[in-house]
Amino acid sequence: MSGHHHDHDHDDVDAGPAWSDVQLRVRALESLLVDKRLVDPAALDTLIDTYETKVGPRNGARVVAKAWVDPAYKQRLLENASAAIAELGYIGRQGEDMVVLENTPKVHNMVVCTLCSCYPWPVLGLPPVWYKAAPYRSRAVIDPRGVLKEFGLRVPEDVEVRVWDSTAELRYLVLPQRPAGTEHLSEDELAELVTRDAMIGTGTVAPPAPKAKR
């Protein structure tokens, strides 16, 4: 198991002999494609760098925070999400046709892709492993409340849970409820509070921890 360093448990899934097999298989495929001049190694590095360092859930958090402080923006976002999100510069692959789902005291939205791993890349980056894995994909539609409970979210019986299965080319972003007691926060500070899971609908946004800092 040379050449990588992670302390967490999930590595066990990949840590057996299969891990070095797949590593070798990929390395050999990469050199074959480079030798055949089908890929430019520098382009691979640019692609990786883009999704590792430039695109991620901070983008979506900025969309959410703006919607919380700017009612006209929120309206545009709910009416034409693709255009409103593009106003902030977040466009492109796997985010061409966006739909924003507003959580309210009566409706809780959550997003899944039961068939593969569809996810709004420009606003959330690449999906976490759990979103792409069998347990979430199988259970989110048949037992959404049970899944949400495992995420620490107890949805009251009188709140409707809506699960959105991304089976086509629409990509969904949940607009979570703005937590109480955040009236004094700036848009930037609000964006700091917004989590990836809140924008998938498997979390909510917590008010800022009462720290002595401010």
């Binding site: 990949d14 890929v39 883009t50 466009i91 492109g92 086509a168």
Partner: protein, 219 residues
Amino acid sequence: MNGVHDMGGMHGLGPVEREPNEPVFHHDWERKVFALNLATGFIGKWNIDMGRYARELMPGPEYLTTSYYEHWLYGLELLLVEKGLITAEEMRTRRPAGPAPDGLRVLRPDDVPRRLRASRAARMDDEIPAQFKAGDEVVARTIHPMGHTRLPRYARGKRGVVDRDHGVFIYPDAHAAGLGKQPQHCYSVRFNARELWGDEASPRDAIYIDLFEPYLEPA
């Protein structure tokens, strides 16, 4: 196809396992599989629906016991050979036996931002009359195609209500099979949880599924 990738409603696949502060990639080979898929995809020999279908063709037992980027690797190896960028012999030996076909548009680093931002345009401008509108009651057809489809098994034969018409999009079932774009309306259809799962489900909850017009018939 009725593959294991169509997971909605299955039992016994374990608890959702989350990882605090998860990295974007866990291993360098995952980075490479991701980037190789995108870079070779941009050459334009296959479309995203063919890409999804290729991953679905991974044998079920293997699909369930491998990680996500291994699915991507499987699909990539399949498409590289099927679409003629690599010969089967080259794939087996991992050694080049000759030059790649002429005239290919190989992705360069300077092109990356533009190519990622340029829409793939799954949405089409075709003016096609819509068979359904918001509020219409529909039934998802009971079909079991051997090819690629985006109608999940758990919705087939079930009754729902059109929530909205998203507009006209490339029809993935045809596109994956190399039969062209065959644009179709795509609707968000609301299914009550109890219609899908019976009385154990919450009477209040609903599942919204994006479904293409050929998947639907009037209720």
